[in-house]
Amino acid sequence: MKHQITGAVMMAALAWSGLARAEEFSLWVRSDGSEYMPKLVDAFNAKGEHTAKLQIVTTDELVQKYAIASAGGSAPDALSLDLIYTPAFAEAGQLKDMTDFAKSLDYFDSLSKAHLSVATFEDRIYGLPFSGDASILLWNKDLYEKAGLDPEKGPKSWAEIEDQARTIAGLGDDIYGFYFSGQCGGCAIFTFAPLIWASGGDLLQENGRKATLTDPKMVAAVEFYRGMVEDGLVPAGAETDGGTNFFSAFANGNIGIAPSGSFAIGALDNRYPDLNFGVTFLPGQTEGEWSSFAGGDNIVISHGTPDEKVSAIEAFIQFAYSLEGQTILANNGVVPVRGDIAKEALKDLDDRYAISAEAMAGGHTPYTTLFNDLINSRNGPWITALSAAWFASSADKAKAALEAGEEEMQSIIDSAN
């Protein structure tokens, strides 16, 4: 019944937008979306109403390419943009105001709040949730079984992670309890920050205007990682991993526990079918607490896109929000961004996917227009401080590194305002 109603709403929406003549619009997506986006676009184009021309751009180069295209007057009409860049793009005046369209959607209230929070700039909405990627914790069930742990029960607190990692590391020289990429700012905000959020701390406060790297929960979380490094539960290569092994380290099968993202569930199932793993939430310091980085893409419209193309883009967005669209996305490893039909879209998939959808719904996205400068940069204060602290030889040195990082972050924030 529900299915039919949603279908009818969608048909009505398509019929309405179909009153305008068929339009062709260009659409960019970062290469992380190369699994689901072509399938979604093909299904949309098959409807015969409008045509989306898809171009896939390397993830690392998307912002630069967009900027160059925009300066040369050839920006794509629409763009599936890593949500953390939405504030910076909106502030620079590159995006069209989508507030009226967004508010006109019946299901506006069930769209991912985390996406919308970063898409809102000065009370106007400049982007709509498109794809979801939540951070979660993976554990290797085969290694758990070998080590005599219950393979069906993942760790539920920091202490449990450490205990279980220690037991697994005892299995042999080439087997390690835990893995994380020690030189990768993007990986750290995605998988390490949720440990702090879950415990009630934060790294940026007051809408991104105050850096709080010395938050007691942050210090505690750093000590938790530092302890595991010091005890040899983490492979030595982690210290200099800039993100290349973020996915593959766990995939190789000799790591007990690793924080990762929902994208990894599908990727591991497809590429490493023999790996037997479980999915759970990234826990807080005490049992029962958890959090997640609600990541993914917002879909945005370039400032210069002509009005007649906007309605075609809106039809595409509505198609993506339909049950058909959400199911295509879910089947390709994307967490659905429309909460009211997420269960239905995920019904053919196992409950590991349901966990990532729940993580997404309870997730958190830091708001800052300086995300690249502060967090993502390989030489930014976030990863520089963390890496020095995780691999420090004493708790005092770790604390000092965090203090230096906080100061540096604050000075970048202050000089930008």
Binding site: Q64, Q94, Q183, A236, G237, G380, S387
Partner: protein
């Protein structure tokens, strides 16, 4: 010869030199055009950008010399520049030392010599990015070559992550650059060595000069010019180092290996401040020009009699 004898007498000198002046300009114009389009124009653009607050996305805003006053107090840029100078020093000594030794070894003719010459030159033809990626693997502590090998041979107590502390990481990159580029400078120096007429050495030998004396008083002064060329190329390319530090070390450990160009890249494409990046580029260009002039003066051939 015949043609020359038949041709009429030359025109009076002034008119002729004027015409050939114009002709010279015509002949030069393709080169001038290329220099203008590919050097002067971009430099002009860079200067123009450096006077703006020019974000990667959004509108540029004229701010005069504010970027230049800001860089004056930017300790990170001066740190990066100081690191680049240290690296240039290490790389130049390593490169020219090894290249000179190789050049002395391969300057003679022969089949085996040709083989070694090719072998030493081979790393030069691989790109910096692919060579760096190869060394990333070689230096990997878990699955690479150096650390596990040193551990297996008992040289180190357990595996050491070479990339995790400054000295081994810096040495590793410098050695990689020497391995990759020494062949190139070897060719330059070798051609210089081969251009020395053998009469000089023979004459010196007849006069009773020893091997070291011949090297010091004949070879060294006569390779001065190709050596100057190699030195200038080496210093300017080392001052512009980027790929190897970006790919192998990501500027780590703890941002200690961020070079000047790396800093410019970060400002322009990570922090999206193209204007500020342009101002830093201008400073680097000025420094490079000064360095080249100094080297040219130091290595200028002394005039006869001095």
């Amino acid at each position: 010869m015949q043609q020359m004898a038949d041709s009429p007498l030359p025109e009076p000198t002034p008119r002729r030199s004027q015409r050939s002046g114009w002709m010279g300009l015509v002949y030069l114009s393709p080169a001038l055009f290329l220099v203008a389009v590919f050097f002067l124009l971009p430099v002009g653009m860079t200067i123009w950008m450096s006077l703006h607050d020019w974000p990667l996305i959004g509108k540029a805003r004229w701010i005069g010399i504010a970027n230049y006053t800001r860089l004056w107090g930017d300790a990170r840029f001066w740190d990066a520049l100081w690191f680049t100078v240290q690296y240039t020093f290490a790389a130049t000594i390593g490169l020219l030392g090894v290249a000179f030794a190789l050049a002395l070894m391969v300057q003679r003719e022969g089949r085996a010599v040709a083989f070694y010459r090719t072998a030493y030159f081979l790393p030069v033809v691989t790109g910096f990015a692919s060579a760096s990626l190869l060394w990333v693997w070689l230096a990997n502590v878990d699955s690479g070559l150096f650390s596990p090998a040193a551990d297996a041979l008992g040289l180190t107590d357990g595996r050491v992550n070479l990339l995790a502390s400054f000295t081994p990481a810096f040495l590793l990159v410098t050695i990689m650059v020497v391995w990759k580029m020494a062949g190139f400078y070897m060719i330059i120096l070798m051609s210089g060595l081969q251009a020395i007429p053998s009469d000089y050495r023979e004459a010196a030998r007849i006069d009773g000069a020893g091997r070291m004396q011949r090297f010091r008083w004949i070879t060294m002064p006569l390779v001065r010019q190709p050596f100057a060329l190699a030195l200038i190329l080496c210093v300017s390319s080392s001052m512009l180092a980027f790929d190897q530090f970006y790919i192998i070390l990501s500027g780590g450990p703890h941002n200690q290996t961020v070079t000047a160009v790396y800093k410019i890249f970060n400002e322009s494409f990570v922090s999206f401040r193209l204007g500020y990046g342009a101002a830093l580029s201008m400073v680097l260009l000025a420094i490079l020009m000064v360095l080249s002039v100094i080297q040219l003066i130091l290595l200028r051939d002394r005039e006869p009699g001095k």
